[in-house]
C-alpha cells in the first residue's frame, strides 16, 4: 500500500508541476519535444531519442494570448499560447502541432510567429480515411515531421528504433487499459481524481518509465481485496475533464468513474499500432486509420453514442457525463446525436461545460448534483 501511495504521489507531483519534469529531463541532457493536444506522432519523437511531452493547457490567466486568439477560442489553445508567451515552455526543442480542427490550423501560424524561440512542426492528419491514398499521404506527413525534427534537434531515428518504440507504445496502451479495468474493482482508492492523474501523467514521463509505474500501481491494486462500491458509476466523455476540483465534486456526490472516452485519456490508448503489415511509418498510419469514435476524426454514422452505451453495459455504469470543452466545435457537433443515442439506449446523460480554469467550477456543482440524483 505504501508503494501504491508513493507511485500515485509521484504521478500527482508530475501533473501538479510538469515544468519540474521538463527540467529533470533537460538536466539529464535529454531533448524534449512538446506535443499539442489531441494527437501527435509521439512515437517519432521517442524513436528519435527524445522525450515527447503533452501540451494540454492548464490553469493560467489569459493576458498575452489576447493578442493572438479571440475569447471564443478553445481554452486549451489559449492556455498553451499564454504559457508559451510567458516562457513556461522554454527548453523544449520543438513543438508538434496537429492542424486537426479550425483553431489548431491557426495555432500552427500563431506559434510560428508568436513563439519563434521554439520551432513548430506541423502535421495534417488525413480525414478521408476510407481512401487507400490516405496511408501514403500520412506516411509523407510523418516523413516531413521527421525531417523538420532532425533539422531542429539534430536527432534522427532509424527503422529499428521506430519498431522498438511502437512496441513500447503498444505496451503502454495495454498497461493503461489494464489499469482502467482493474481500477474499477478498487473505486475506494481510485477516485475520479486519482484515475485522472494516472492518465494525465502519461504526458509528462518517458513512456517506459510511465508504463513501469502504472504496472506497479495495477499490481498493487490487484493485491488488495475487491472493493464493493456502493455509490454510483459513470462514464466520462469529451476532450478533457479538468481541473481536479471538478473531479472532487464527482467524488463528493459518490460518482465513480468506471470508464472514459476522453481525448485526454482513454481515446489515446484504445487503438494499438499493428505489429505487422509494413514498416513502422506505414503501421503508424494504419493505426491512425483504425481510430474510432473521436469527434476530431471524420467518421460516418456518428458512432459515439452507441459506443458509450456499450461501455455502460460492460462496466455497469448508470450514466454518461459529457465534459464539453468550451468552444470546441467538433465536440459540439457530436453532442446532439450522442445524447439522443444514449437516451434511446436508456442511458442517463448530462453535459457540463469545461474550461480548465477553476473559477467556473462551482457553477458545475448543481448540474453534477442533479445528475447524481437522476441516475
Amino acid at each position: 500500500m505504501a508503494e501504491l501511495r508513493e507511485n500515485l504521489a509521484r504521478l500527482q507531483a508530475a501533473c501538479d508541476n510538469p515544468r519540474t519534469q521538463l527540467d529533470y529531463y533537460l538536466k539529464q541532457g535529454k531533448k524534449v519535444v512538446g506535443c499539442f493536444a489531441p494527437y501527435t506522432p509521439e512515437e517519432l519523437v521517442h524513436a528519435s531519442g527524445m522525450i515527447p511531452m503533452g501540451l494540454w493547457g492548464g490553469q493560467t490567466e489569459f493576458q498575452k494570448v489576447t493578442a493572438y486568439l479571440p475569447a471564443f477560442a478553445c481554452p486549451i489553445m489559449q492556455a498553451n499560447m499564454e504559457f508559451a508567451l510567458n516562457g513556461v515552455y522554454e527548453g523544449l526543442s520543438a513543438v508538434i502541432i496537429p492542424a486537426i480542427c479550425d483553431t489548431l490550423r491557426c495555432m500552427t501560424q500563431n506559434w510560428r510567429f508568436g513563439v519563434p524561440s521554439i520551432p513548430m512542426v506541423p502535421i495534417v492528419y488525413p480525414q478521408n480515411r476510407t481512401s487507400p491514398a490516405s496511408v501514403d499521404y500520412l506516411i509523407s506527413e510523418f516523413e516531413t515531421v521527421l525531417t523538420i525534427l532532425s533539422t531542429v534537434t539534430g536527432q534522427m531515428m532509424n527503422e529499428k528504433a521506430l519498431c522498438r518504440t511502437i512496441e513500447i507504445y503498444n505496451e503502454h496502451n495495454a498497461a493503461m487499459r489494464e489499469f482502467a479495468q482493474i481500477a474499477n474493482d478498487h473505486l475506494d482508492v481510485v477516485t475520479p481524481k486519482v484515475r485522472h492523474t494516472v492518465f494525465k501523467s502519461a504526458f509528462f514521463f518517458e513512456k517506459e518509465e510511465h508504463t513501469a509505474i502504472v504496472k506497479e500501481i495495477t499490481a498493487a491494486l490487484k493485491e488488495q481485496p475487491v472493493h464493493n462500491w456502493t455509490g454510483k458509476k459513470i462514464i466520462l466523455t469529451g476532450i478533457a475533464f479538468e481541473p481536479d476540483e471538478v473531479l472532487d465534486i464527482l467524488a463528493e456526490y459518490e460518482l465513480a468513474v468506471v470508464g472514459d472516452d476522453l481525448a485526454h485519456e482513454s481515446r489515446q490508448y484504445r487503438t494499438d499500432t499493428p505489429v505487422t503489415g509494413g514498416g513502422g511509418l506505414k503501421r503508424l498510419a494504419l493505426q491512425w486509420n483504425a481510430r474510432k469514435g473521436c469527434s476530431l476524426i471524420h467518421e460516418l454514422d456518428k458512432p459515439r453514442g452507441k459506443m458509450l452505451a456499450r461501455m455502460c453495459q460492460d462496466t455497469g455504469a448508470q450514466g454518461v457525463l459529457t465534459g464539453l470543452m468550451k468552444f470546441c466545435d467538433p465536440e459540439e457537433y457530436d453532442l446532439p446525436f450522442l445524447e439522443n443515442d444514449l437516451r434511446q439506449a436508456g442511458v442517463h446523460c448530462t453535459t457540463v461545460s469545461i474550461d480548465q480554469q477553476s473559477s467556473s467550477v462551482e457553477q458545475l456543482r448543481t448540474r453534477i448534483q442533479s445528475f447524481a440524483e437522476l441516475i
Binding site: 479571440p70 477560442a73 483553431t103 506541423p122 467538433p330
Partner: protein, 432 residues
C-alpha cells in the same frame, strides 16, 4: 442588435422613398440563373433523379460534367440571413435540435432547414422549401473543418451518403505533391462512386468542355474583380457579392459566362464614361477581410457610403477564381483555393498584393463569430499586413448569418476611427 426603431410621430413627415436604381442587366441575369438552379433541382427531384447538396468550394465541375443538380447550403443560408429570415432556424437549431450557439451560423441555419425537410421540425420555410431534400452530399474541407462535421451530421440525419475530398490544410507555402496525389486519388474514387450511386456516366470530353467553361468563368470573375483597380472604381465593391452565387453554384455553366461577360461589359462601360455605381464620391478605397456580414449588409454599406468608403478589394470572393487545366491541376487548385486552407504567409501575401494593386488606404476585418478559422489567426495577419503595407486597419464583431452577433454602434465607431486615420494619412501624403 435590433433594427432601427421607427418613431411613429415622424412617419407622416418622412420623405417619400427614393426611387430605386434599375438593376443592371447582369443582376437580372443572376436572378434568373438562381431561380433556374432551384427550379431545375425541384424538377429533377420530381423526375426521381438524385439531387445533391455541396460545400461551396467543392469541384463543381464534377457534378456539372455528370449533369447532376446540386444546391449549396452555404449560399442558401447566406440568402436567408440577408433577408432577415434566420431567427426561427437559429432558435430551432439551438433549441429543439440541441446544438450549441457557438457553431457556424450557416451550419445552424442549414441543419434546422434540413430538420424541416426531414419531418423532424415544423418551422415554416420562408422560401417554400426550394432547397429540396438531398439524396447525397458533396464535401470538401478546404474552407474549414466545421464543414466536415456539419456534413457528417446531415448524412446521419437524413441517412444519405457523403462524397468527400479531404483537401488538407497547407502549413507550407505551396501544396505539397503528396497532397496532390492524395487529393487526386480521392477525386478519381469519388467520380467512380458518384457514377455508381447516381447511375450517371463520366464523359471525359464533356469534362474537358466544362473545365474550359469553368476556366473562362474564373478568368472573367478575376477580371471583373480586377477592374476595381480603376479610380474611381466602376462599381461599389459590395455589389460583387451579388454575383458570387454564379461562381459558387454555377462555375461550370455557360450561363455564368454570359453573366460574367455582361458584368465585365457594364464595368468597362462605366470606366469609359468615368461613371461609377458607387452612389457617392469615392473618398477612400479599402479592402474587406472576411465573409460579408449578410444580416447587416445594408447597414455596412450605408455607414461606408456616409464616409465615401468604397470596398475595392476582398479576400473572400476571389476564392472562387480557381484556375487549372487537368485533374492533377484541379486537385492542386482546390487545395489552394481558399486562404482558410493556407498558412499565414500565403494569406498575407495575397492580401498584400491586393492592397497594392487596388491602392487601398485601409482594411476592414470582419471578426466573424461563425468562423474560427478566420478569426483565430486574424490578429497576427493584421499586425504583419499593416506593417508591411503601411495601411491602417479596423475590425468589427459580426457574423455571416447570426444577426445577434453585431452592434451597429460598434461598426459605426470603428469605421469613424478608421476614417480619421485614413484622412490623416491622406493629408500627410498630399503635404508631401
Amino acid at each position: 442588435m435590433s433594427e432601427p426603431v421607427v418613431n411613429p410621430g415622424t412617419e407622416q413627415t418622412a420623405p417619400p422613398p427614393k426611387p430605386k436604381r434599375p438593376k443592371p442587366k447582369s443582376m437580372l441575369m443572376i436572378g434568373e440563373q438562381t431561380a433556374a438552379l432551384f427550379e431545375n433541382a425541384r424538377l429533377a427531384k420530381e423526375r426521381g433523379e438524385k439531387v445533391g447538396w455541396s460545400a461551396s468550394i467543392f469541384p463543381q465541375e464534377i457534378a456539372e460534367t455528370l449533369g447532376l443538380n446540386v444546391l449549396y447550403p452555404e449560399n442558401h443560408a447566406a440568402g436567408i440571413a440577408a433577408r432577415h429570415q434566420a431567427d426561427p432556424f437559429l432558435q430551432e437549431c439551438e433549441g429543439a435540435l440541441g446544438y450549441s450557439n457557438d457553431l457556424c451560423a450557416y451550419a445552424k441555419l442549414n441543419l434546422a432547414y434540413a430538420a424541416v425537410l426531414n419531418d423532424e421540425s415544423e418551422i415554416e420555410l420562408p422560401d417554400g422549401g426550394k432547397m429540396v431534400k438531398p439524396d447525397f452530399l458533396l464535401l470538401t474541407n478546404n474552407i474549414c473543418n466545421q464543414l466536415t462535421k456539419w456534413y457528417e451530421n446531415l448524412a446521419r440525419q437524413m441517412n444519405i451518403p457523403v462524397f468527400f475530398i479531404d483537401t488538407c490544410y497547407n502549413p507550407s507555402d505551396y501544396v505539397t505533391e503528396t497532397r496532390v496525389r492524395y487529393v487526386r486519388a480521392q477525386i478519381d474514387q469519388l467520380i467512380k462512386d458518384l457514377c455508381a450511386f447516381t447511375g450517371k456516366t463520366w464523359d471525359e470530353e464533356r469534362f474537358k468542355e466544362v473545365m474550359k467553361i469553368s476556366q473562362r468563368n474564373s478568368y472573367l470573375w478575376e477580371r471583373a474583380n480586377g477592374l476595381l483597380d480603376h479610380k474611381p472604381a466602376p462599381i461599389g465593391g459590395f455589389e460583387l457579392f451579388n454575383y458570387m452565387s454564379a461562381m459558387v453554384c454555377n462555375r461550370g455553366k455557360t450561363s455564368t459566362t454570359a453573366i460574367m461577360e455582361q458584368l465585365n461589359a457594364e464595368m468597362e462601360e462605366n470606366i469609359r464614361l468615368g461613371k461609377s455605381t458607387f452612389p457617392v464620391e469615392e473618398e477612400f478605397r479599402v479592402s474587406w477581410d472576411g465573409i460579408a456580414c449578410w444580416p447587416y449588409l445594408s447597414h455596412n454599406l450605408r455607414t461606408l457610403k456616409k464616409y465615401g468608403i468604397n470596398m475595392v478589394a476582398s479576400s473572400y470572393g476571389k476564392a472562387w477564381a480557381i484556375e487549372y487545366d487537368d485533374l492533377d491541376g484541379m486537385a492542386r487548385a482546390y487545395c489552394f483555393a481558399s486562404t482558410n486552407g493556407d498558412n499565414a504567409t500565403t494569406m498575407i501575401g495575397r492580401r498584400l498584393e491586393a492592397l497594392k494593386r487596388f491602392d487601398c488606404e485601409g482594411t476592414i476585418y470582419h471578426v466573424n463569430r461563425s468562423c474560427k478559422v478566420m478569426d483565430c489567426q486574424m490578429m497576427e495577419v493584421q499586425r504583419q499586413l499593416s506593417e508591411q503595407a503601411g495601411v491602417p486597419f479596423t475590425s468589427f464583431d459580426g457574423d455571416q448569418a447570426d444577426y445577434r452577433n453585431y452592434s451597429e454602434a460598434q461598426f459605426e465607431t470603428r469605421i469613424q476611427g478608421l476614417v480619421e486615420v485614413m484622412k490623416q494619412n491622406k493629408e500627410a501624403k498630399s503635404n508631401g
